[in-house]
Every structure is written in C-alpha cells, then in structure tokens.
C-alpha cells in the first residue's frame, strides 16, 4: 500500500513529504511511547503516534521508519518538521483516534509489525 492510499484511507493531511507519497508501506506500528517504538519497531515501519514533539521524528529517524502518521489531529513542532524534511521522512496527520487509525489500515490489509515473520524482519 502506498502512502497516498494511506492518506486517502485516513483522510490525512500531508505536513511534509508530498513528493514521497508513492512510497510503498508494508507494515505499521502504533504507540505514543517512544521507548516501545525503539524496543519493538523495525526499519521500514509506518509509525502511528499521538506524540507530537520532536522526539517522535528523532525516534523515527533512529529506527529508519518510512513515515509518521500523527493521530488525534496532532502535528509536530517546527523542530520536528525541520528534521523530517532533512531526513526525508514524510509526515501526515489524521483527525482519527489511534484505535480507528490502526483498525482502518489493518482492515485494508496493512499488517502490524508483530505480524511480520522472522525473515521479513
């Protein structure tokens, strides 16, 4: 599934990375706790989070996340957006809550990080 499809499914706004919407996304994970993202996230993940400070982008960069979708209408601060642009990490924002965001993407066939086989990880 591409980021463009994800944008449509979630009725999301693109904060930055408009030119990267054709990026293919193969799995996702949702958490507001960056400790958990660092422990369970995998390179290539689509990160769904309600944490909107710069740590969300720094964490995404550390684990090589493909993009971030902020839930509950959250948007990152200026520093987060600046870093995302520097590192080429697209940022989207949806008004949906975390549960609905995850549910919608899962029902459209996007698996969670825990569904990946050992080889895929």
């Amino acid at each position: 599934m591409t980021l463009r499809e994800i944008k449509e499914i979630l009725q999301a706004e693109v904060i930055c990375g408009e030119d990267s919407l054709d990026t293919e996304i193969t799995f996702a994970g949702g958490s507001d706790l960056m400790s958990d993202v660092l422990a369970f996230g995998k390179p290539g993940i689509l990160l769904l989070t309600g944490l909107s400070n710069a740590q969300s982008v720094r964490t995404a960069n550390i684990i090589d996340a493909k993009a971030i979708v902020y839930v509950r209408g959250k948007k990152p601060d200026e520093e987060g957006i600046k870093l995302a642009k520097e590192k080429g990490i697209p940022l989207l924002s949806t008004k949906l809550m975390m549960y609905a965001t995850c549910g919608l993407l899962f029902s459209h066939g996007l698996p969670g990080v825990s569904s990946l086989s050992k080889e895929q990880q």
Partner: protein
C-alpha cells in the same frame, strides 16, 4: 590518537536538556552511515545510543560519550555524573522505571531503556556508584563472528 582507530570522537550530553535530547544519537547515526557501517549494525547501535542519551538527559547532570571505531568493532563508553543506580538488577528489568511525568510526556520512561541497550549491543557492561554516576560500555562487532 591511537592509530588503530579509524575514528575516535567525544560527545558531551547535558542532563535535563529535553529540547536537544536525541541530537547526538542522530549525529552519530549519520557518522556511522557516512563511514559505511553495515545497516543492521547502524540501527542497533543508534537505538542503543539514543536510549543511553535519553537516560542521561532524564536522570544525570552531564555525561561524556566516547565513540571509538576500529575495523573490528564500534565501542561506546558513556560516563555520567548523576545519582547513579542503587540496584542495577532492578534497573535492568523491563518495565521498572523511576521516570517523572515530564519524562513520560517525551515518550520515554517506560523502563525499557537499559534492557533495550543490552538487547541491541553485542557486549554490554554497566557499573554505577550511587551518588556519583553510571558508566556504560557498549560494543558492536563489525566482523561476522560477533554479529547479532
């Protein structure tokens, strides 16, 4: 500088500086990428250093992080000045945390940091003196035999 090293660099981390927390790890990840370190090792090392940097910002007054890279391994030595850890066995348990609300608002303080550093490093050693500080030694092997 020891000729054996291909890189030997020190970084200073300031405790309580939440707005800059994670910047040093971000820089180190870029350095490792530029050197051409294996991608999976970059991810493991970056995660470990980011967790360690966050621990300093959250709990210590200041710290020095020494990064040494030679053809065989990446080695990080982090020494902080701070309250130290009274019970290291407890601190190494997933879920144990003494974090404040401010730390949790940053998305950290879930008690996953030290266990996650240990999980990602090929070799990990922690020593601490309560009232003085904590030292972490993290090694990531670059040769095939030491890879996780």
């Amino acid at each position: 500088m020891n000729e054996e090293y291909i890189l030997n660099q020190n970084f200073e981390i300031t405790g309580g500086d939440f707005s800059n927390a994670g910047k040093i790890s971000t820089s180190i990840k870029e350095i490792l990428r530029e050197i051409g370190i294996d991608h999976s090792i970059i991810i493991r090392a970056s995660i470990a250093i980011y967790e360690a940097e966050m621990n300093v910002v959250m709990y210590a007054r200041r710290a020095t992080l020494c990064l040494n890279i030679n053809p065989e391994k990446l080695h990080f030595e982090l020494k902080d000045e701070g309250p130290g850890i009274k019970n290291i066995d407890l601190a190494m348990k997933e879920g144990f945390s003494t974090a404040t609300d401010e730390m949790r608002e940053m998305g950290f303080g879930a008690g996953m940091g030290l266990p996650n550093i240990k999980k990602n490093a090929d070799r990990f050693k922690i020593t601490s003196t309560p009232g003085e500080g904590t030292a972490l030694n993290m090694t990531f092997c670059l040769d095939k035999t030491g890879k996780k």
